[in-house]
Symmetry: none
Subunit: 208 residues, 4 copies
Amino acid sequence: MTEPMRGRQEQGGRREQAKLERRERIYEAALNLFRTQGYEGTTVDQITRHAGLAKGTFFNYFPTKDAVLRYLGTREIARLSLSSNGNGHHRGTAIGKLKRLMAALAENLEQDRTLVSLIFRKGVTAPDLLAGDAGGFSLQPVASLLIRQAQYNGEVNPDLDPDALASALDALYLQQLVRWCESTRPYPLSERLTGIVDLLLLGIGKLE
Amino acid sequence: MTEPMRGRQEQGGRREQAKLERRERIYEAALNLFRTQGYEGTTVDQITRHAGLAKGTFFNYFPTKDAVLRYLGTREIARLSLSSNGNGHHRGTAIGKLKRLMAALAENLEQDRTLVSLIFRKGVTAPDLLAGDAGGFSLQPVASLLIRQAQYNGEVNPDLDPDALASALDALYLQQLVRWCESTRPYPLSERLTGIVDLLLLGIGKLE
Amino acid sequence: MTEPMRGRQEQGGRREQAKLERRERIYEAALNLFRTQGYEGTTVDQITRHAGLAKGTFFNYFPTKDAVLRYLGTREIARLSLSSNGNGHHRGTAIGKLKRLMAALAENLEQDRTLVSLIFRKGVTAPDLLAGDAGGFSLQPVASLLIRQAQYNGEVNPDLDPDALASALDALYLQQLVRWCESTRPYPLSERLTGIVDLLLLGIGKLE
Amino acid sequence: MTEPMRGRQEQGGRREQAKLERRERIYEAALNLFRTQGYEGTTVDQITRHAGLAKGTFFNYFPTKDAVLRYLGTREIARLSLSSNGNGHHRGTAIGKLKRLMAALAENLEQDRTLVSLIFRKGVTAPDLLAGDAGGFSLQPVASLLIRQAQYNGEVNPDLDPDALASALDALYLQQLVRWCESTRPYPLSERLTGIVDLLLLGIGKLE
DNA sequence: GATGAATGAGGCTTCATTCAT
DNA sequence: TATGAATGAAGCCTCATTCAT
């Protein structure tokens, strides 16, 4: 009636799309409220009303309230990875891309220190950290990919295990992120990160 | 052994002293927790445990949880007024002292923008503001005092009503404080304040 | 088997119905407990357990514990208004109905002097009273309606503003109710009310 | 200095007196507040402030807050026993006195049905009742005394055990008191009591 | 004995989460 | 899948009671 019938696939695609959009709407609403009222000061009901949905719907998109926090990391990484690959291939080396990605990520997180802090206090447990699940902030996948590219391009010694390298990078990155969150005197995270990561990359390839 | 006997009065002073110290301990514990966990993320129970007391005791020193927030303003003003008078009399004019006091206060509050913001959102109602009770941030008393001194020293026209002047100063100060809290882009409060207050003082005395 | 399918509208009616019933169940449970244990002596948990629900559910039906008290007035007025209209139209004049309604209301409230007293002590503030919100006891709407009927029937001077009359009636009614609650020696409220209200009605129509 | 020295005894007497007076002051204050605000609505602090004392002092005179309730019964019995004996001996028979005492007691309690009710709900446990401790309402001592007098006067069969009789009387009295408290429709307690007690006394002596 | 601060049990209320529709 | 009512854990706050002075 309202629309001509469609094949399954296409319907799925549309529905999938709508679902992602709704998830995004909830995420945006949540972050805006978290920034102005704090995490604990914001209720799930407020979030969904700002997103034009009913309270119960929240839990169809995020399993818990903290999950939105964790999603902050995942999403930023996804977004930046995409853009870093999108206008990618051509501009600069793979290692260069990796460093720019980390710096960009750091700059973004610097805007939300309070929230990032919260993630490590509410959203991630010690076991999570040990298991490498750092509340969505894992660089592992992109880093692994870019390192492989770097090896392919001859930027990095091809005998090294790319996953091990990516994992080490991730650990350093995470350590700095946590330390920055906990420090009382604020300092620029991106610079610190770039510096420290150079130490690791120094041995494995030529700095850009 | 521990101490010689004392008269009633002095004993009372001791109790009074102990009470003030405990209040201070609660206040410090609360602020530390507020800074790291946020206001809503901190429970009264946590505060008192950090202060080495039982939960109920909190309410013997502050009527509600927000009251600690309000006390932030009062206390800073008291502390700074004291120090500004302590090394006082000699150095500089009364108006100079007043300006330094305001700048110092602003600098202190700048460290806790999130908390100060909270005071205006949780601890002060519109009627409070209209009644001049701005959550403890009132400069009125010190300002009134220093303006009288300034008049006595010939720095300010003695025909003006010192209370009215102090009140005007207070209003300007408060307005700027609130505005600074609400602004999305941070800027240095102390400079703005100094600048704006000069406008008022320009007419009533010579700038230092 | 259990029931034939129904359209959306009617289903909604069913849910609505269930909600009203549950609200009524909570109200009944609360009043019974208030009568035997007093208001302060009764906990919300007791109320909901008596109603076969969980504690939190209480607050889906009444915003606070006092709200149940306030509802006492509203509900009685609604119930009596209905019955006074139900066996209505035919028997007697509109003014007669109004007087019977007030007497019936008074008789009902006389059964719960302690509770009615409580409403004025816990559930209604001075500003509420000034705003005409007397904890749900407002006769204004029914009175206004019946006075209009009376004017239509020629029982009352049609030049008078029916809302103003209703408001005056309400005020007198309320004044007597409060006075009766506060008096130490109990006396029959309904008679007093009938008598006093006659004074007002004397000028505007013929007594029944 | 302030007063000439006195012997121990006399001081004790004065102190004793002062203590009793303070206890009475607390009791009066408590009852007045209970009557207007209810038992749970009244705080110990309010009580002592109305009695011109500090909160902690309350517990030097009553072990708990309920104790004041229990004292209600004890005190009334003591007061009435005294007056019934005071203008006593001469007027009427001992059994007559006993009946008048019970009626007078009942009339007094009728003024405070809510409070008396509370005693049985908060101040007396089932074990208490079984042990014959009915929250201070025990007639046993006076009744025992008066029955002995009655036996001495020949009003009552001297072969009966006066304590057993007093105990039976007490049980009946208490039963009626509780029943009257719990009943929803109020009725005159004193008449009911007189009637029922006559049944018992009918067998043991001539009615007055 | 009088006092008032410390204590913690218990009450009201909010809100994340579950679940029936 | 969206909805909103039910639930109960957890927070703030009150206040009876204890206890050091």
